[in-house]
């Protein structure tokens, strides 16, 4: 297993796209922290990167990578190796490189310029989001045989999680404005890792605003130790379930 992971990581490094992604993140985060006169605004720009760019790249790159290494996968399958080992190694290699790229690109500037609770929360959620969307991308890649279809699905997934889901929530909020929806909303965030990460960061960043009105309900849930643990468990579940589903599919897939 270690050997395959090592091979995958070396291959990804040789590919240079992830290196470019790392350099891009590094450039943007450093310029954000240097250009903005107050660090609160810098964090806000960084938040947008974490919530938009990280999921997009973590979806697209692994999906394309899985498609392009189909011959390599076929070769591995012909060897006396368990399919489970092959798939999990591939996942670990991809997830590790995406997470590491985020850590170097955005994490190091955060640690340098903004080593506050908000910064640490961003770092943690950013790494988790990288892993979550890698596992989603692999699920999409294993489900759709056609490359164009697979990548299309991945792009739609990104659109769904970053825009459409929120649009639906907003629509529901206005349609059912007369009902107490606060508790339901807390539950709804579990279905979108981007929303969940965003709220966890907001709780550190906009705590004053969240103390008012319904914000207090979110604060009461997410702000407590228990809420924090539950949220992180939910995020981890978002890694485990797609990985498990894709593994099940891969085990019986006719390559």
């Amino acid at each position: 297993m270690k050997k395959i992971i090592k091979y995958v990581i070396i291959d990804i490094l040789r590919n240079k796209i992830v290196l470019a992604y790392t350099a891009f993140l590094l450039l943007i985060s450093i310029s954000i922290f240097n250009l903005e006169d107050n660090s609160a605004k810098g964090l806000l720009s960084l938040l947008n990167i974490i919530l938009i760019i990280v999921p997009l790249v973590s979806l697209l790159f692994p999906a394309i990578y899985v498609y392009n290494s189909s011959e390599f996968l076929e070769l591995l399958v012909s060897q006396p190796l368990k399919r489970k080992t092959i798939w999990l190694s591939l996942f670990s290699g991809l997830a590790a490189s995406m997470a590491f790229a985020f850590f170097v690109g955005a994490g190091i500037p955060i640690l340098l310029f903004e080593a506050t609770p908000t910064g640490f929360m961003m770092l943690g959620t950013g790494i988790l989001l990288s892993v979550i969307f890698t596992s989603l991308a692999m699920l999409a890649a294993v489900k759709a045989r056609d490359k164009a279809k697979g990548i299309g699905v991945v792009i739609l997934l990104w659109l769904y999680f970053s825009v459409i889901f929120d649009g639906l929530i907003l629509f529901l909020l206005f349609q059912f404005a007369d009902y107490p929806l606060e508790k339901l909303m807390v539950g709804a965030t579990a279905f979108n890792p981007i929303d969940l990460s965003r709220i966890l960061i907001l709780l550190k960043m906009d705590v004053s605003a969240l103390m008012g009105y319904t914000g207090a309900i979110f604060k009461d849930f997410f702000g407590t130790q228990l809420g924090l643990i539950i949220s992180f468990l939910v995020l981890v579940t978002w890694v485990l379930i797609p990985t498990w589903l894709s593994l099940r599919k891969f085990k019986h897939k006719d390559l």
């Binding site: 825009v163 907003l170 008012g212 009105y213 319904t214 914000g215």
Partner: protein, 411 residues
């Protein structure tokens, strides 16, 4: 003329000669304060040595100075009002006053002034009193350097730290008040000044004005109260150099202005409040040189306000700068610094060339539908804000700063 001088000299010495000092000490003749009060006449001084005194209700109805040495303890045994002042010119200085009675019918207090002038209440420590210092029909009274603590949990069972009712020309200086219902409460009090007090961790408001006109509060700190300062149904108030900090919660504000007119708000700092200032029915308010930092909403200004002038203030790192509830805007914002301003300054006059609209689309959405807060800072809400900036539809057209500052004021 000579006669007049001689007479006045005689008068002066006369009082000096006849005023005496009575010592209250457990080891000496006069053992209790009650005893001393019977012996005293107007103008006398009663010195009380350190010790523990259970004297029930001490009623002072002569103009005397009651002075404690090393903070003698006056204990109300949770039953009595401790000191009642019913004469003019009484001084109460240097006591530790604890455990007053608690009643829902009578307002028991640590020190209560009834219908008197020139009372001075100074350097006392009040601990676990129902009301701390209570002034009723007072005139020209001084409440200075007292420390007033209570440990209440519910509003209904607690009184106010300094409670003033129907009074005139009070001076409230340098007191520290914690754990009461309201730190300082003013009702029908005029021409008074509140200076350099600290009100912290009180259950309701740090400072509460009702129907009190022409007062000023200056250089006070209001921190972590239920809500910072509530100013209601009053006019002609001056609010200068105060700190409003960490007033957090649903319906919590740094400063609440309700039905206020002719107010003057200058050089205050509002930091980390859920809403820095909440205004309802306020008119002719002048606000300048205030700093709003890291609040949820820097200002919530309801459509019922008019002629509120907001200029030369700094708005920095607030989640929302201004919130409102309607499209009617009769207020005026100019020359403020907004850190969210994205305009430019071509002619280099340090003023932005395009107006800044401090009310964001999403602030209006949250005003209408509070649970929408859960989508704040998502791509969706950012898109909505951007489109609103290009084509304003939901946000009030006239709520704008035509000439925002490019750089923050140095305050």
């Amino acid at each position: 003329m000579k006669k007049l001088i001689t007479i006045s000299i005689f008068l002066f010495f006369g009082t000096a000669v006849f005023a005496k000092t009575i010592h209250v000490d457990k080891q000496q003749n006069v053992k209790t304060i009650q005893q001393a009060l019977l012996l005293a006449v107007d103008g006398d001084t009663v010195l009380v040595s350190a010790g523990y005194y259970h004297e029930q209700n001490i009623v002072i109805n002569k103009s005397i100075c009651l002075i404690g040495i090393n903070h003698p303890v006056l204990d109300g045994d949770n039953k009595y009002e401790i000191i009642s002042i019913k004469a003019d010119g009484v001084v109460v200085d240097g006591f530790k006053i604890i455990n007053s009675g608690v009643s829902s019918i009578e307002d028991y207090a640590g020190v209560k002034v009834y219908n008197s002038r020139y009372a001075v209440i100074r350097n006392n420590i009040l601990d676990k009193t129902f009301f701390g210092v209570y002034i009723q029909f007072g005139f020209d009274c001084l409440i200075e350097n007292n420390t007033i603590n209570a440990y209440n949990k519910v509003e209904q069972e607690s009184g106010n730290g300094i409670h003033c009712w129907k009074s005139d020309s009070l001076r409230i200086l340098g007191n520290t008040i914690t754990g009461h219902r309201d730190g300082i409460y003013f009702e029908f009090v005029k021409n008074s000044i509140i200076w350099r007090n600290v009100a912290e961790d009180n259950l309701r408001y740090g400072l509460h004005f009702m129907f009190s006109n022409d007062d000023a509060y200056i250089c006070n700190v209001f921190k972590n109260n239920g809500a910072g300062v509530a100013v209601m149904f009053s006019k002609g108030l001056k609010m200068i150099h105060n700190y409003f900090e960490e007033n957090w919660g649903d319906a919590a504000f740094g400063l609440l202005l309700k039905e206020i007119s002719d107010g003057y708000i200058e050089n205050n700092v509002f930091e980390k409040n859920t809403a820095g200032i909440f205004m309802e029915g306020a008119s002719r308010i002048h606000m300048e040189k205030n700093v709003f930092k890291r609040n949820g909403w820097a200002m919530k200004i309801q459509a019922s306000c008019m002629d509120v002038n907001v200029h030369n203030n700094n708005f920095e790192s607030n989640t929302f700068d201004v919130g409102t509830n309607g499209n009617l805007v009769l207020n005026n914002f100019t020359n403020n610094y907004w850190d969210k301003y994205e305009g430019y300054d071509l002619n280099k006059d340090k003023l932005g060339d395009v107006p800044f609209r401090p009310v964001s689309m999403y602030a209006m959405i949250i005003e209408q539908n509070p649970p929408a807060m859960i989508l704040f800072r998502s791509l969706m809400s950012t898109l909505l804000d951007k489109t609103e900036k290009v084509l304003p539809s939901l946000t009030p057209e006239n709520l704008k700063d035509d000439h925002p500052l490019m750089k923050p004021m140095v305050l």
